[in-house]
């Protein structure tokens, strides 16, 4: 009986934090889902309907937006981890001036996403620094189009620049937990650099790598500000499309459908992550 009472107290203490989050995020999810099926509509009358889903799913633009957002998510998360992992390995070894370098590389973490987008836009723009340099060095004859380009390289670069420290911190922590003994033992048994990297560092750092890749994917997938600054005119990312639909065309119900698509994708990715996480941890034991 006493134990139950303590448990109840614990749950009560959770209310201010978890309850606050659930109240707001939960109501937001609820409204999104309800509106996508035509309920709680703010324009016209409300009735349960699949009409909005049919319209959105039959539009080629929606499919293009979805594919584009997925592409940005995947490329940003792979790109960031590819850049961050070698740096994390370097920081593990340590050396002269490591502390200072560590602070410098953390700067983008404290630079808001919009500012980061702006900073990189200055470099990438048609007559920006990179194009000027390449022209001056006669590597290219015409300035490259890296901003608002159809493929979205500009967005990927901004995402990598802004989120590198974040991913770096997570990956560094998981690399730091690898014991030197393990590495020494492998070296003793004749393992080369590559096999140490592939068979020790990467597998043991896998939990950190997975989390950071998932978080990066979700960030880049649902991103609004970076896309609207550096993205192509067409296709737009899902968030931008949803925002336009809701505010410009006042088609909130259809925007809600896109919202649900974004939510569902996010949840699928998190679910996949938890399955993968179980697999990774299962391998260890």
């Amino acid at each position: 009986m006493k134990k139950n009472k303590g448990l109840l107290g614990s749950y009560l203490l959770l209310i201010p934090g978890v309850g606050f989050i659930l109240l707001f995020i939960g109501s937001s999810i609820f409204i999104t889902v309800a509106q996508s099926f035509g309920l709680f509509s703010i324009t016209g009358h409300s009735s349960l309907t699949l009409e909005n889903w049919k319209t959105i799913l039959s539009m080629q633009e929606s499919i293009d937006s979805l594919l584009f957002s997925l592409k940005m998510g995947v490329l940003s998360s792979i790109g960031t981890i590819v850049v961050a992992f070698p740096i994390a390995l370097y920081f593990r070894k340590g050396g002269v001036g490591k502390g200072m370098l560590g602070s410098i590389i953390k700067i983008p973490l404290f630079i808001p996403a919009l500012v980061a987008a702006f900073l990189i836009v200055n470099l990438l723009s048609f007559h920006g620094l990179i194009n000027s340099l390449l022209l001056a060095l006669r590597i290219i004859k015409e300035p490259l189009r890296m901003l608002n380009d159809r493929f979205g390289w500009g967005i990927v670069l901004i995402q990598i620049w802004k989120n590198l420290p974040f991913v770096l911190l997570i990956v560094m922590a998981s690399i730091a937990s690898i014991r030197d003994d393990t590495i020494d033992a492998a070296k003793n048994l004749g393992a080369g650099y590559w096999s140490i990297l592939l068979r020790i560092y990467i597998p043991l750092a896998m939990p950190g790598i997975l989390v950071s890749m998932i978080l990066m994917f979700i960030k880049a997938f649902g991103d609004f500000p970076i896309f609207s600054v550096a993205g192509p005119v067409y296709p737009t990312s899902l968030s931008v499309r949803m925002h336009l639909m809701a505010t410009l065309h006042q088609e909130w119900d259809k925007a809600a459908v896109i919202g649900v698509i974004i939510f569902v994708t996010t949840f699928i990715v998190i679910w996949l992550y938890s399955r993968l996480g179980e697999l990774v941890e299962g391998d260890e034991s």
Partner: protein, 293 residues
């Protein structure tokens, strides 16, 4: 061949030579990394500084690598003709309130998460991350419907609540890790000596979570300063914060010089804060709090 000869004439043993080479290699590597990092972070910032100092009488255009002449004109212009001063005030008025509010709301939750074994803890930990994980624009757009129906949109209190929502996840996660780190012995000893709940909170919990609290406050503060989606949907046009002002310079009418000024205004305090709090802000706080979902 030459290698072998050298080894014969040189009395230094082979492993020392390798050691020395390795050392030299690491120094080179450090220099290389340092240079790349300086360029990686420094060049974009320097570019923004240069753009913010462009003299409108002598525009900076394509073949020039540097602005032909500099003037403070852009800075004066931005402060005179835009709402930046008010936006700064709004931003820095909301952030501290949001930080305090998220601390108060997080404390009991973090205590339970860190010190109690309750069923469903894993799920609660995931729920706590939702505001960061969930795509900001979707949440903002449809939360605004909820806010409107409660009369909270376009209000200062609504913005504070929204910013609190974005700060709470960091706060709970970091504080939870701090609570976990308190050794049970200390609490047991205090209880043995007859400490009441109040004394335990005052003399054990609060002092021991202080470093984590600072890290959490910094994260919540920066989260509030850079919060864009919710502010953009719920606050504009009544309330403008620095991010929404910057967005207005970067959207339909892209004015690079004005945007540079606003960008610099927005990031300078953050960077200064980063260097001041660097020693408190051990990287493991963020990693420990977000490294697991």
């Amino acid at each position: 061949m030459t290698e072998v000869k050298q080894l014969k004439s040189d009395p230094t043993p082979l492993h020392l030579i390798i050691e020395k080479r390795k050392k030299r290699f690491y120094i080179l590597l450090t220099l290389f990394f340092g240079l790349v990092q300086l360029l990686w972070v420094g060049v974009p910032i320097v570019m923004a500084v240069m753009w913010s100092l462009v003299d409108p009488a002598n525009p900076w255009s394509f073949p020039d690598m540097f602005p032909p002449s500099i003037s403070p004109h852009q800075w004066q212009y931005v402060f005179k003709y835009t709402n930046i001063a008010r936006a700064l005030k709004t931003s820095y008025a909301i952030a501290p309130i949001a930080v305090v509010l998220s601390f108060i709301l997080s404390l009991p939750t973090a205590y339970v998460m860190g010190r109690k074994n309750i069923p469903g803890k894993k799920i609660f930990m995931l729920v706590v991350l939702l505001p960061i994980i969930m795509p900001g624009m979707v949440v903002a757009l449809f939360l605004s419907r909820v806010f409107t129906s409660f009369g909270l949109s376009q209000s200062f209190f609504g913005l504070v609540l929204a910013h609190t929502l974005m700060g709470i996840p960091y706060m709970i996660r970091v504080l939870t890790t701090s609570f976990q780190a308190i050794p049970q012995d200390v609490i047991d000893a205090a209880e043995n000596l007859g400490a009441t709940t109040f004394v335990k909170i005052k003399d054990i919990f609060l002092p021991m979570i202080r470093p984590g609290l600072l890290a959490g406050m910094i994260f919540a503060f920066t989260a509030s300063i850079e919060e864009f989606n919710l502010t953009f949907i719920i606050g504009t046009p009544t309330f403008e914060t620095i991010p929404t002002i910057l967005f207005s310079f970067m959207g339909y009418n892209f004015i690079r010089t004005n945007a540079s000024v606003v960008a610099l205004i927005m990031m300078t305090p953050n960077i200064i804060m980063l260097f001041i709090v660097e020693r408190f802000l051990k990287s493991d706080y963020l990693a420990a709090s977000l490294g697991k979902m």
